[in-house]
Symmetry: none
Subunit: 147 residues, 2 copies
DNA sequence: AGGGAGAATGCAATTTTATACACAATTCGC
DNA sequence: GCGAATTGTGTATAAAATTGCATTCTCCCT
């Protein structure tokens, strides 16, 4: 059975090339020596969770449904009673705002620069616990939870 | 123009109902008194970032691109040599940053509050022209360009 | 007011995608 | 190993989505 093999190839192609139709995906697979019909591709794409999105130039492009990395968030480290959150450039204030908005017990306040923000945790609270509550593992305020 | 109205209705429908074709979406809009052709829906869905995914039961279903909270942008008005940009709560600094980053000729600088930012346009430049260059009609810094 | 640029939209044709049906291949329980 | 059930795939076709072109609508400027 080469279904597995074929789908792996599809994953690779979708990740690396700009493909926007099953017909051209089929051609790409042909070039790799994999022969398959369009109908099967329709089923494969459904199974693999490949969707048709819009790329930066406004054209259509296949992509995977789930999002690898959350939008703005880069990292979140604990140092003493501080949380040091790194974000995409310019996004720190937005993320800080969201954190404030959450009104987490133990967060005294936040200060945001351009791509970094500090959240000050009150004495008597555990910064690690706060980080956990932020849900950094799976998402958080300014970024979406993956499922 | 009821494009805005229509697209808002589409958002509501996509969020609350299980729709899997433009034809049935069209029907749903009809019931709300909004008349539109399938071709326009195709364009709307592309613009709104609606994708076709697979739901829990294995059927197709429209949904929003994971990443879609991107459009922080709410509106952009011109007043004299100022652009007044409204954004989602807390997002103004992020959008201002993106605008700065674009380095548009004629933009002297930006000041961001919480959900509003001002971009100051230099004398001798046309604020409307700047707005056009921002691509506000079809996208912009913190939101996706479509066309 | 009048004109023009760009946006929005419909229509029709085309392209792309999904699926019903038939059959082959594989897996499973005995 | 054998038949039954499940899974995989192609073919043909139906269904759905996209797009070129023409037209209309909206602003904005003079």
């Amino acid at each position: 059975m080469n279904k597995k093999l074929r789908q792996e190839a599809i994953v690779r192609i979708v990740e690396t090339e700009t493909i926007s139709s099953q017909k051209s995906l089929r051609k790409a697979l042909m070039e790799k020596g994999l022969s398959v019909t369009q109908a099967t591709l329709s089923r494969d794409l459904k199974e693999l969770g490949v969707i048709k999105t819009v790329d930066d130039e406004g054209g259509y492009k296949y992509a995977f449904r789930e999002n690898r990395r959350a939008p703005f968030f880069r990292s979140c480290e604990v140092s003493g009673n501080l949380l040091v959150v790194r974000t995409d450039a310019g996004m720190a204030p937005a993320v800080a705002y969201r954190i404030d908005e959450m009104g987490l017990a133990g967060v005294l306040g936040t200060v945001a620069g351009e791509d970094t923000l500090l959240a000050v945790v009150a004495d008597g609270h555990d910064a690690r616990q706060v980080r956990r509550e932020l849900g950094v593992r799976g998402g958080g305020p300014g970024w979406r939870r993956n499922r």
